[in-house]
């Protein structure tokens, strides 16, 4: 650096970075809309016929085609589609006639609640397990973590869910069954609790209905633990490898030589560096769960985004499928952005 190059304030650079991020965000969104639009047009399903079914006359079908704007050229349809999306109009479900945005607003909190709890479980179990395995490579604990992780990777969630339900709900009776609440509580909840967040744990807690809260917890704990297990398998493997890498670094040896307690070496010094890549891993696994784990939601009769999209697919309800897909895409992009920001926050090099 020469003396003439005066230090530049970091702000313009940061603003430029932010602008860049926003532009890339907008482009990603547009790409997402383009892809969903194309998918809706190339599927070999006549959207009009799937709405009108067996009975309608040819004239009625033509009328519906015009009403849906399907008689216009493709580029025009795409412009209308993007315009609607930008105004927050995700279309109207063919099946229920309900605006997709309204439906998603109803079902998404259920998925959010499940995915958040599952991620908490996954992190709480996965990070310590990964650290344990990394600090004792080759030990019984390491093998055990690997084995448990491998099972989480390879067993179909569908099967795990059914077996879990059968065992913990059917035979042992430790947890609540499918659905978000027992029937009686569910009815009380609908009449006595004003939904604020749409997440039952939060809403019951806010209303001070602690017995309902406990019941809701007993229902969510199994699917969340199940999804948490899958996410734990991933997180623990990644934590182990990141941690192994850090523990081999010189600064760790230095810290140990200086006589620092081992837990401090691991959890403070090494962890700070492990956290950087780990955030991305956790965010990705969270985003994956937010897509609505379709099979888990179906088995547990969980009225979330995954089951909404699946059922819409079954009815050829393309506006609902696409609207749901766009929401998933937006959630994914948002999480990516958040993990990017967090990454900058914890990693001094990225500042």
């Amino acid at each position: 650096m020469t003396a003439s190059s005066a230090p530049v304030s970091p702000w313009p650079a940061r603003l430029r970075g932010l602008a860049g991020a926003l532009i890339s965000l907008a482009l990603t969104l547009l790409g997402l809309l383009f892809v969903t639009f194309i998918i809706s047009r190339v599927v070999p399903i006549d959207p009009v016929l799937s709405i009108m079914g067996q009975r309608a006359s040819d004239a009625q079908i033509e009328e519906a085609r015009v009403a849906l704007g399907l008689d216009k050229p493709l580029w025009h349809q795409f412009l209308i589609y993007v315009g609607n999306m930008l105004r927050g109009d995700l279309g109207t479900s063919i099946g229920s006639g309900e605006p997709v945005l309204q439906a998603v607003a109803r079902v998404f909190p259920a998925t959010l609640e499940l995915a958040t709890l599952a991620t908490i479980f996954g992190v709480l179990a996965g990070v310590p397990a990964g650290v344990l395995a990394a600090t004792r490579p080759g030990s019984l604990a390491d093998h055990l973590v690997r084995l448990v992780g491998l099972m989480g990777y390879s067993m179909p969630v569908f099967w795990l869910g059914l077996i879990g339900l059968l065992l913990f709900y059917g035979i042992l009776g430790w947890v609540g069954g499918p659905g978000r609440l027992d029937a009686l509580y569910d009815m009380q909840f609908q009449f006595e609790v004003t939904p604020v967040t749409g997440m039952i744990l939060l809403d019951t807690a806010l209303a001070g209905k602690w017995d309902m809260f406990a019941n809701a917890f007993s229902h969510i704990v199994l699917p969340a633990a199940l999804l948490g297990y899958v996410s734990m398998a991933y997180i623990s493997r990644m934590t182990r490898s990141f941690m192994m890498n850090e523990l081999g670094q010189e600064y760790i040896t230095t810290a140990r030589v200086k006589g620092m307690p081992e837990w401090r070496v691991i959890w403070v010094h090494a962890m700070r560096n492990v956290l950087v890549p780990l955030i991305t891993v956790i965010a990705l696994s969270y985003a994956y769960l937010l897509e609505g784990s379709v099979l888990t939601e179906t088995i547990f009769a969980w009225p979330g985004l995954g089951s909404y999209i699946t059922e819409a697919l079954g009815r050829n309800d393309m506006p609902a499928v696409l609207g749901g897909t766009v929401v998933v895409g937006v959630a994914f992009i948002t999480l990516n952005l958040v993990s990017d920001l967090l990454y900058r926050l914890v990693d001094p090099r990225a500042r």
Partner: protein, 532 residues
């Protein structure tokens, strides 16, 4: 040390808290004695407005929340019974029907039920013109003339029709959900932009039924609450809670644990699995949907009567029903489902490969090859594979063309198929609904807009057209039933249709649940008679 001492204590505390949260004490396994909890797949609901609802799950709600002028008895849905009308008569010329209203009945709002409400409701159903409106349009009622055709006069409602139809035709159609009577005053209070309260009624109720709709969340469920002092007598179940549970295995688990009282969507495998469980019972019914094979007569081959007959003996109806379909369908061989006026219950055809071979030889057709369109659903593909196999034994080659339902329907509607495996559900509780489609085609040209099933198969029913037209006008109920029996006898031996099965319902329930009626082929579920 792997963890700091403080963290280790915190971990133990957190684990303990988690386990406490799941303690069995917070679980209520039994359903309350005066509440009926049902699990079903109800994502078919489009609307709960009785003049718009046209799907099984929606009509179940309508049946419990609304009444019509005439009704079906849920325990024995054979013919129309008094509903909100106490008596009715038909004029000499057969074109004017007068219904006298029962006095003293109120809507859930407290408003008294009047003839004006009844007339308004039928007018509304025609005017908002949703999917089921055509059921009423059949009587010559249009949005323009319905105010003159349907009128209130004191405590009577007068219905005029454009022709002298069979009175049973009108009465049967009036038992359909689209003829439900709504509370005019309440509905009009919720009129938005001239929609006659349609938007509001999609998720609210304004009827005279035993229940009131308290809550409906799409893809989650609905709650009905019983009305005190209902005109039929108070329902034993004070509340009905329907939970949307799409997965059959999950429904079964909930039922076995006692968290629900009735499971309506169990698979044959689940039904087998719970057979023998002393806490549960299984109720078998038939529904209205029928499954059939049909052949496009653009292909001259399918006009050969001996060849068609050969194929009728080359299907393993009984074996399929017992092994592959396991009670989810029952053999049925005429176009009116059991439960309908004039239905034929006998099954004259059965698998007889030798007879089929002989008939094929007689027909003069050599080495026939059929391309059969089949929807990509498991039960249909299994059905088609069995047919392919037994047809093969009889010397008829079948090539399966498997595809997505809407696409196959497109080919069918355009008369592009060779043969197709299809299902058909009746639209309303009168035999005309199926006769008018399977046995009616007055213009067999490609550009005709009839669109009936007969037309789709390029089938000219010939004399059967006249029989269908006459049956819908026959004023004597018994004679009318006989006409439909005769019509079907001829149809099943001469048409290019082979009706094979009628759908079966398996409702599994806790042992203490009694008097749950699904409505069978022509009606919807009734909750108000259930006890437990």
């Amino acid at each position: 040390m792997f963890l700091s001492p403080i963290l280790r204590h915190a971990g133990v505390a957190a684990t303990a808290a988690l386990m406490l949260g799941t303690a069995p004490g917070v679980l209520l396994a039994e359903t309350p004695p005066d509440t009926l909890v049902i699990a079903d797949a109800i994502d078919d609901i489009v609307s709960l407005d009785p003049h718009e609802a046209y799907e099984f799950s929606g009509l179940d709600v309508v049946n419990n929340v609304y009444d019509g002028l005439v009704e079906l008895d849920p325990s024995q849905p054979t013919g129309p019974q008094p509903g909100l009308a106490e008596s009715w008569s038909v004029s000499e010329d057969g074109m004017t029907f007068t219904f006298k209203m029962k006095p003293g009945i109120t809507f859930s709002s407290g408003n008294p039920v009047t003839a004006a409400d009844a007339a308004y409701s039928l007018q509304r159903a025609v005017k908002i013109n949703k999917s089921p409106a055509f059921i009423l349009n059949q009587f010559g009622w249009t949005a323009e003339n319905v105010d003159q055709m349907v009128t209130a006069d004191g405590d009577t409602v007068v219905l005029k029709t454009d022709k002298a139809y069979a009175p049973t035709f009108l009465y049967n159609c009036l038992t359909a959900g689209v003829a439900s009577i709504v509370d005019m005053k309440t509905v009009m209070e919720h009129d938005a932009n001239g929609d006659m309260g349609n938007e509001w009624l999609k998720t609210n109720s304004a009827g005279t039924g035993a229940y009131v709709l308290k809550s409906y969340k799409p893809n989650e469920g609905y709650i009905l609450e019983a009305r005190a002092g209902h005109w039929r007598g108070d329902a034993a179940m004070k509340a009905v809670f329907m939970r949307h549970v799409p997965e059959a295995a999950t429904q079964r688990l909930l039922l076995e644990k006692g968290d629900i009282d009735i499971a309506r969507e169990l698979t044959p495998v689940d039904i087998e699995g719970i057979t023998g469980n002393a806490d549960l019972k299984i109720q078998k019914d038939v529904g209205g949907q029928i499954f059939y094979l049909s052949f496009n007569q653009k292909n001259e081959l399918y006009k050969n009567q001996k060849f068609l007959e050969a194929m009728r003996y080359a299907i393993d109806y009984q074996g399929l029903a017992e092994t592959v379909l396991k009670g989810s369908m029952v053999p049925h061989q005429a176009f009116l489902p059991n439960g309908y006026l004039g239905a034929l219950e006998d099954t004259p055809f059965s698998l007889d490969v030798e007879k089929a071979k002989a008939l094929l030889a007689e027909s003069g057709v050599t080495a026939p090859k059929i391309v059969m369109d089949v929807r990509n659903a498991t039960d249909r593909m299994e059905m088609a594979q069995s047919i392919q196999n037994t047809f093969g034994q009889a010397g008829i080659t079948v090539e399966l063309n498997i595809g997505e339902g809407a696409e196959q329907l497109k080919r069918y509607r355009a008369r592009q198929h060779d043969a197709t495996l299809q299902s058909w559900g009746p639209d309303y509780p009168d035999p005309q609904t199926n006769a008018g489609s399977f046995a009616w085609n007055d213009n067999n040209a490609d550009d005709a807009s009839t669109g009936t099933l007969a037309w789709r198969n390029s089938y000219d029913p010939g004399p059967l057209n006249d029989m269908t037209a006459a049956a819908v006008m026959e004023r004597d109920g018994d004679k009318r039933a006989a006409m439909y029996r005769d019509l079907q006898e001829q149809h099943r031996t001469t048409s290019p249709f082979i009706v094979m099965f009628q759908i079966g319902y398996n409702s599994a329930m806790r042992g203490n649940v009694n008097n749950f009626f699904t409505g069978g082929a022509i009606d919807s579920a009734a909750y108000w008679l259930v006890t437990k």
